[in-house]
C-alpha cells in the first residue's frame, strides 16, 4: 500500500486526467454553468475516453460545459436532476444514444454524500408517491413512508475550486461551491482544477471548505471563462 496524499500538484490537465479509462463513472461539479471545472471538461474530450457515465446536476447548457461531452459522443449515460433547455441532452435522450436517469437534486447530492461517508443506503421522504419510487424499497418509519436510496460513488470526480493548497484543502467562491465538495468525497480519484494555488498553511485550518483528504490530484488553471447562464441585473439608482 502506498499513501495517496504525497505530492498532488501536477503540471497539466493532461497529466491530471491520465488515469481515466473508458467506461468510468465521472462525477462533475457545477450547477448550471457555475463552478464548472472548465479545463478538465475540455481535457476529458482530448483524453479520448469513451462510454462514460456522467453524474452532474445539469450536464451543461447553452452548448457550454458538459454539453461538449454530449457533442463529442463520449457519454453512455447521464445521471442528473435537471435537463431544462439543454438541447444537446434532449436530442440524444430522444434518439436513445444516451440513457438518462433523472434524480431529485437533493437525493442526487445525498447519494454522493452517503458514498463519501460510508453510508451504503438511506431512507428519504423525497419522491414517495412519485415515479421516483419505482423499483425502490419503501419502509414505514414512525407512521410515515420513505424510500430507500443507494449511495452513488464515482470512479473520478472533476472538481472546480477557487483556491487549493498543495495538500488539496479547498475553498470555493459563493455558489460555485454547489456539488463540488460532495463529489470530491464520493470518488476514488478526485481531480481538482483551482483558480489559485497556495502553499500549505495559507488557508487557516478553520477556513477549509473541503479537506485535502478528499483530493488526489491538483492542477492550477488561472484563466476561466465563467460563462453567464442568465445575466439578470437592476439599474443603479
Amino acid at each position: 500500500m502506498t499513501g495517496r496524499h504525497g505530492n498532488k500538484v501536477v503540471g497539466s490537465v493532461a497529466e491530471a486526467l491520465a488515469p481515466l479509462t473508458d467506461g468510468m463513472t465521472i462525477l462533475c461539479g457545477g450547477f448550471g454553468l457555475s463552478g464548472n471545472p472548465e479545463a478538465l471538461i475540455r481535457g476529458v474530450i482530448e483524453r479520448g475516453v469513451r462510454d462514460l457515465t456522467l453524474v452532474s446536476n445539469n450536464a451543461g447548457n447553452l452548448g457550454k460545459g458538459l454539453a461538449q461531452w454530449l457533442r463529442a459522443g463520449i457519454l453512455r449515460k447521464v445521471i442528473c436532476s435537471y435537463i431544462g433547455n439543454n438541447d444537446e441532452l434532449h436530442t440524444r435522450m430522444a434518439s436513445g444514444e444516451v440513457a438518462v436517469e433523472i434524480t431529485p437534486q437533493g437525493t442526487l447530492a445525498e447519494r454522493m454524500r452517503a458514498a463519501g461517508a460510508g453510508i451504503p443506503a438511506f431512507y428519504t421522504p423525497t419522491g414517495v408517491g412519485t415515479v421516483v419510487e419505482h423499483g425502490k424499497e419503501t419502509k414505514e418509519i414512525d407512521g410515515k413512508r420513505y424510500l430507500l436510496e443507494r449511495a452513488l460513488p464515482g470512479d473520478v470526480a472533476l472538481v472546480r475550486a477557487h483556491t487549493s493548497d498543495r495538500f488539496g484543502n479547498l475553498r470555493f467562491w459563493r455558489t460555485a461551491r454547489n456539488f463540488n465538495p460532495v463529489m470530491a468525497s464520493a470518488a476514488k480519484l478526485s481531480i481538482v482544477e483551482c483558480d489559485h494555488l497556495v502553499n500549505n498553511g495559507a488557508i487557516d485550518p478553520d477556513d477549509v471548505h473541503c479537506a485535502g483528504i478528499y483530493v488526489h490530484r491538483i492542477v492550477h488553471v488561472p484563466e476561466h471563462e465563467n460563462a453567464f447562464e442568465y445575466r439578470t441585473v437592476r439599474k443603479r439608482p
Partner: protein
Amino acid sequence: MTAIWSTEDMARRAAREIPAGAIVNLGIGIPTQVADYLPEGHAWLHSENGLLGTGPFPYEGDEDPNLINAGKQTVTVLPGGSTFDSASSFAMIRGGHVDIAILGAMQVSVRGDLANWAVPGGKVMGIGGAMDLAAGSRHVIAMMQHLTKKQEHKLVATCDYPLTAARVVTLVITDLGVFAPTGEAFRVVELAPGVTRERAAAATGAPLV
C-alpha cells in the same frame, strides 16, 4: 374568461402569506416575483444551489457568474447570508428547516398532491429541487393560472400528471383567488375582485367549499 389577478397581483398576494422571520424558497417562474413584494429584511430567501440570504439582482456591472440563484440568474447576497454545498442545502430542505416553499404548479389535487415537473407525453425538463422542496418544506404554496391555455382544470380531484409529492400543498394561489385543499374539496380563502364563487367553481375540477 380573462385573468383577474395578474401574476404581479398573485405574487403580491403570496408575499402576504410569509410571516416576518421566515425562511422561504421561491421556485422558478411566478414564485420568483414574490421577492419583489417582501419588505427589506422581512424574510430570508433560500436558493437550493447553496445560498441563504439571497438578495436582489446585482447592479449592472456587478454581476458575478458564480453568485446565482436556483434559476441560474445572477443575484446578490445580503448581510447575514451564507453559502454552502448542495448536500448541506438539501439537508436544510429535507430536514424541515425551510418554512415555506412557493412553487409553480401544473396541477394540485384536493388532497394537496402537487404535479409540477412533467406533462404526460411532453418534453421532460427534469425534477431539479422540486420534489425535495415539496416533500421537505414545512408549508408548500402552489402558484399557477387557474386553467390551462386550453381551459382545462388544474385544481382537480386527482392529479393525472406525474406527481411531485403527495399531500403537501397547503395553499393554492391562482389568478382567480386563494384556495386551500381540504382533502375532499378546495376551501375558498379569498376570491380575486370581481370573481364570483360560481365562476371559480366552474373553473375548478373539484368541489369548492
